[in-house]
C-alpha cells in the first residue's frame, strides 16, 4: 500500500509512439504506482469517474483548455477519444451534480507547478 504512494519526481512510464512533432504527450503525476497506467485507468481518471488512488487517497486531475493543442493530442493519442467527448461528459457532471470535472489550467507551466504543489494530482506533459 505505502509503496504505491512513494513521493518522488517520477514520470509514469507510458509507451507512446513518436509523432511528427517529435514529442510525445504523457500522463504526469508524482504519485507512484507499482504498475503503469492502462488506457482504461486513464479514461476512468480523466473522464472523472475515478476519484481516488488505489491506496484510497483523493485524486485531483488537471487539464489544459479544450482547444489547447496538447489537450487535443492527449485526448486522441493517449485516451483515444475526441476532446468533445470529454467536454460533453464533464458538462453533464457539472450541470447535473454527478461529479467534479478536472480543473482547467492555462498553461503547461501552471500544470507542472500545480501538480507538484497538490497532493494526489495528475495531469499530462509534453516530452
Amino acid at each position: 500500500m505505502a509503496a504505491w504512494s512513494v513521493i518522488g519526481t517520477v514520470l509514469i512510464p507510458w509507451p507512446t509512439p513518436v509523432y511528427a512533432t517529435g514529442t510525445t504527450v504523457v500522463p504526469y503525476s508524482l504519485n507512484k504506482q507499482d504498475t503503469p497506467f492502462t488506457r482504461d485507468e486513464l479514461r476512468e481518471i480523466f473522464f472523472g469517474r475515478q476519484t481516488l488512488w488505489r491506496d484510497g487517497s483523493p485524486l485531483r486531475v488537471f487539464v489544459l483548455p479544450d482547444q489547447h493543442p496538447l489537450h487535443v493530442r492527449f485526448s486522441k493519442e493517449v485516451l483515444g477519444v475526441y476532446p468533445y467527448q470529454l467536454r460533453s461528459a464533464w458538462d453533464r457532471m457539472i450541470y447535473s451534480g454527478t461529479g467534479t470535472p478536472p480543473a482547467t489550467v492555462d498553461s503547461l507551466k501552471q500544470m507542472e507547478t500545480l501538480i507538484k504543489e497538490t497532493p494526489g494530482a495528475i495531469g499530462y506533459i509534453e516530452k
Binding site: 461528459a89 453533464r92 457539472i94 450541470y95 451534480g97
Partner: protein, 405 residues
C-alpha cells in the same frame, strides 16, 4: 404590470452582467474555491425568439421575445474521496411556459464504490436530476444542447409537463460495468416528482387539482463504445398518481403516464448523428366525463446531424415529428370531435442551426425552424389557440448568447 417591470429590471441587470463579463475575460475559468476539489460553476444565457404566426417563449410575434433567460450557479466537491455533494440554483424564464423564476434545480449527495476492477456502483440522494434520454439531465444549459433548443417532440419545453421531467426528490441507484472499449450503464430512480409545480398536474389531468400517491419510477440502461463514440440507450418513466380534484362536482381519480424512449448516437470526429424515439401512453380515470377510462398514446421522434466544421463552429440539421394520437396521425378524427384544426394534433419541424464558441467560455447559437402543426405550443403563450383557425405552417427563428465559468 408588476411582472412586466420586474422582467424588464431583470433584463437590464442581465445586460449589465454580460458587459462586465465580456470586458473582464480573465474571469473565465471555473471558480476554484481553494479547498480540496471544491468548484463553483455558473452560466448566464439570454435568448431571443421571433415567430411568424404563433407565440413561442413569450410574445414572440412582431418584434420577437426576450423571454428566454437561463441563469444557474452550482457548487460541487468531495466530502470524502468517493462522497460528492453538489447543488445548483436555477433562474429560468421562458414566457408563459415557465414562470417558476428561481428554483433549487438539484441538491444531492452521491456515494460510489468500485466493485472489483471493472464495475462501479453508487447511490445518489436528495433532489436529483431525472435520468432520461440523451439530454434530460443538463437540458437547461445551452452548452449541452446541439444549438439553441432541444428537439421539442421529445423534450417538451413549452408544455407544462416539463417541470415534472426535470428533477425530483428521492434517490437513484446506478451502476457501470466496463471491459476495454465497452461499457454498460444502468440507473434506477424512485422519487417524488415535481408534478404539482408549473401546472404539470393540470396538464396531466386536464382539469385543476393535485397529484399524490406512488412515487415516480425511471429506469435507464445504456451501452457505450469508446466513451460514447457509439451509444445506445433505453429509458422509461412510469408515473402512477392519484388525482385530487379541486373543482366542485368533479370527483377525484387516477392518472397513469408511461414514457419509454430509445436513443442512439454515433460520434465521429467531425460528425455526430443522433436519433431518439418514444411513445407516451396516458390513462385517466375517475374524474373523466361519464366515468370513462381515457387512454391515449402519442409518438415522438427526431433524427439529427451535427457537423463540427471548425474547432469552435458546428452546424445542425434536424427533423422531428410529434403525433398527439397514434391512432389518428393526420388529426382528422380528433378535429371532428373537438372542432379544432387537424394540425392541432401534430408537429413536424425541420431545423437548421449554427453554434459558435466565439471566445473561451462564450457561446452564440442560432436556429431556424420550419414547422407544420401546433401540437407543442404553450396554451399560456397562445391563449387563442383553441379558438382561432391559424395556419398549419409557421416559422421560428431563435438565437442565444451564453457565458459560463
Amino acid at each position: 404590470m408588476y411582472i412586466q417591470s420586474s422582467a424588464l429590471r431583470c433584463r437590464e441587470a442581465l445586460i449589465g452582467v454580460f458587459i462586465v463579463l465580456f470586458a473582464y475575460p480573465q474571469y473565465t475559468t471555473a471558480l476554484d474555491l481553494g479547498i480540496d476539489d471544491w468548484q463553483a460553476h455558473g452560466f448566464v444565457s439570454q435568448g431571443y425568439t421571433l415567430t411568424s404566426d404563433y407565440n413561442f417563449f413569450g410574445n414572440s410575434r412582431g418584434d420577437g421575445s426576450l423571454d428566454f433567460t437561463e441563469i444557474g450557479v452550482n457548487l460541487s466537491g468531495h466530502i470524502q474521496p468517493n462522497l460528492l455533494l453538489a447543488a445548483q440554483g436555477l433562474y429560468r424564464n421562458t414566457g408563459g411556459s415557465d414562470r417558476e423564476g428561481f428554483r433549487l434545480d438539484f441538491a444531492n449527495l452521491d456515494y460510489h464504490l468500485s466493485v472489483g476492477d471493472r464495475a462501479t456502483a453508487g447511490i445518489r440522494l436528495g433532489r436529483v436530476k431525472n435520468p432520461f434520454g440523451l439530454y434530460n439531465e443538463a437540458r437547461d444549459v445551452v452548452w449541452t444542447r446541439p444549438a439553441v433548443l432541444l428537439p421539442q417532440s421529445v423534450y417538451f419545453d413549452s408544455l407544462a409537463l416539463r417541470q415534472a421531467m426535470i428533477s425530483s426528490d428521492g434517490g437513484i441507484l446506478y451502476g457501470r460495468y466496463g471491459v476495454g472499449d465497452h461499457a454498460l450503464t444502468t440507473e434506477f430512480l424512485i422519487a417524488e416528482p415535481q408534478d404539482n409545480t408549473g401546472g404539470a398536474a393540470e396538464f396531466l389531468a386536464g382539469i385543476p387539482g393535485k397529484l399524490e400517491g406512488r412515487p415516480m419510477f425511471i429506469g435507464r440502461m445504456g451501452y457505450e463504445w469508446q466513451e460514447g463514440r457509439f451509444r445506445l440507450m433505453f429509458s422509461a418513466v412510469d408515473l402512477d398518481r392519484d388525482f385530487k380534484s379541486s373543482t366542485p362536482d368533479v370527483s377525484s381519480g387516477n392518472t397513469k403516464t408511461f414514457y419509454p424512449l430509445a436513443s442512439a448516437q454515433l460520434n465521429l470526429e467531425a460528425w455526430s448523428f443522433t436519433g431518439e424515439y418514444g411513445r407516451i401512453t396516458t390513462k385517466r380515470q375517475g374524474f373523466t366525463p361519464g366515468g370513462a377510462i381515457l387512454e391515449n398514446t402519442s409518438e415522438s421522434f427526431y433524427v439529427q446531424a451535427q457537423y463540427r466544421f471548425k474547432s469552435n463552429w458546428s452546424a445542425l440539421l434536424r427533423f422531428e415529428n410529434f403525433t398527439a394520437d397514434v391512432n389518428d396521425r393526420g388529426g382528422r378524427r380528433n378535429a371532428e370531435i373537438t372542432g379544432l384544426p387537424k394540425h392541432n394534433f401534430y408537429t413536424r419541424d425541420v431545423t437548421v442551426g449554427l453554434r459558435w464558441e466565439f471566445q473561451r467560455n462564450w457561446l452564440m447559437a442560432t436556429e431556424y425552424h420550419t414547422v407544420w402543426g401546433t401540437a407543442l405550443l404553450s396554451p399560456v403563450d397562445n391563449p387563442d389557440l383553441m379558438q382561432r383557425n391559424g395556419p398549419e405552417r409557421w416559422d421560428l427563428l431563435t438565437m442565444m448568447v451564453s457565458y459560463r465559468f
